[in-house]
């Protein structure tokens, strides 16, 4: 198992940041990297309960993921489970995500994302990264 931590400082108070990373109307503004678009979704991380989302990338590939919000401590932290779905909609390996919002300076926040329980294969990700461009061209050739 491996884990991933990403931190970002934002010039906004914790309440504002927390609202942006948990409320449905705000989540849809940023959920998914540039170049993807959000399809069906039930994105509400502000209360315990299920969530799900489907992203489509520029090549039309679908990425579906879902989970369950397990703990909310506004405006400090939220924790939810996470799993990708495969082509047959079978939900794969489950991992866990925690968002933390800490006050920083005057009216600023430190946002910390901790994704734990990731499959160990992803540790090798950097070694395999060189594959990506080759594989993208493979995929282009196929389509």
């Amino acid at each position: 198992m491996s884990e991933l931590t990403i931190e970002r400082s934002f010039p906004h108070p914790p309440e504002h940041v927390f609202a942006f990373v948990t409320e449905p109307a705000n989540l849809v503004k940023w959920w998914g990297p540039e170049g993807t678009s959000l399809r069906e979704h039930a994105l509400d991380l502000s209360r315990p309960g299920p969530w799900s989302s489907t992203l489509v990338n520029a090549e039309g590939g679908l990425h579906k993921m879902s989970g369950e919000v397990v703990a909310v401590d506004a405006p400090r932290s939220v924790e939810f489970t996470w799993g990708w779905h495969d082509d047959e909609d079978a939900r794969g390996h489950e991992s866990r995500v925690r968002f933390e919002v800490h006050p920083e300076g005057v009216d600023g926040s430190l946002f910390r994302l901790i994704h734990t329980g990731l499959p160990s294969d992803e540790i090798a990700e950097n070694h395999v990264r060189g594959w990506t461009s080759a594989l993208v061209s493979l995929e282009r050739l196929l389509n």
Partner: protein
Amino acid sequence: MSYLPTTFAALGDATRFAIVERLLKDGELAAGELRTVGRLSAPAMSRHLKVLHEAGIVERRVDKQRRLYSVRPEAVRAIGAWTLSHRDFWQGSLERLGAAMGRESGKT
């Protein structure tokens, strides 16, 4: 998705990678037509094709005396889905989060 390590292991050989590229470009080919890829002997080619077949990357069908090989679209799709890693997902998303919050607070 679970067989991706096998997929990468099979593609981690320059000759097999070239075979797959050729099949992607030309569609279905007989083993004999593929041998120009690496100037391979027939037994060597059949060994490479066996590895690719067992890894689920290529499929084969028999047409009269010939064995025809092609790339399984599912294999390429699985690779495409995998390339969106968790790190890529979050880093890409958080860039947009920063931008979205900036826009919001700019409003009065």
